[in-house]
């Protein structure tokens, strides 16, 4: 993900936040966040990072450790190095082979019973 300097945000690998992160713009997490994360924008939780707390975003790419309830308007992509525990709610969810997931999974669709 390309992050523009004043719009996008990066929580670096040597950074830890205990508290709430909210706002707009793309966010990449390489470090640790303990607390809620609510962003109007795409969120990427990279391999080696840790997020503990509820997460709301436009989309999520997860390849790190995430413990919490995820509510995403768009797509969720769980990568091969991801470890996840909680609720995953998104329009579309992809889980790669190798990911460790313990989740209540909810995708938005209507089940059409008649053909």
């Amino acid at each position: 993900m390309v992050v523009k300097r004043s719009e996008g945000s990066v929580v670096g690998a040597a950074t830890e936040i205990t508290g709430n992160v909210s706002g707009r713009g793309a966010l990449r997490v390489d470090g640790r966040i303990n607390g809620s994360l609510s962003v109007d924008g795409p969120v990427e939780v990279t391999a080696g990072s840790e997020v503990r707390g509820p997460l709301r975003a436009e989309s999520l790419v997860l390849d790190g450790v995430l413990e919490g309830d995820v509510d995403v308007a768009g797509a969720i992509s769980v990568g091969p190095r991801a470890r996840f525990q909680g609720t995953l709610r998104g329009a579309r969810v992809t889980i790669a082979a190798g990911a460790e997931v313990q989740a209540d999974l909810q995708t938005d669709f209507e089940l059409k019973l008649s053909i």
Partner: protein
């Protein structure tokens, strides 16, 4: 590229600790510390006690500042709080209110 960047639209409330370069274009409330340098961009708003090896302020900081090395308040920057640092510069056009302790 800085290790950590808080973009213009983002706000962080709580304890923020880092061991790498931090750039704040958004807002931070609580505490902000880094073993490396912290830079507050022109759009950055920090309401926190700040601890860093060095601090550059082009935006607004309200809180006490403790720096092992230096604090630079740039033109347009605003710092309200006490500063403890071995070196302090206040540029023409910067505003500052607080006490200075240069540890002499």
């Amino acid at each position: 590229m800085a290790g950590t960047v808080i973009g213009e639209g983002l706000s962080v409330e709580g304890e923020f600790s880092s061991d790498e370069e931090v750039v704040v274009h958004g807002s931070v409330r609580g505490t902000l510390s880094s073993g490396s340098s912290i830079s507050i961009g022109a759009s950055g708003v920090v309401e926190a006690d700040v601890s860093a090896r060095s601090l550059s302020v082009a935006g607004q900081v309200t809180g006490n500042v403790n720096s092992a090395d230096r604090v630079d308040i740039q033109a347009g920057g605003r710092l309200v709080g006490d500063v403890k640092a071995s070196r302090l510069t206040i540029a023409d056009g910067a505003t500052f209110k607080g006490n200075v302790d240069m540890d002499v």
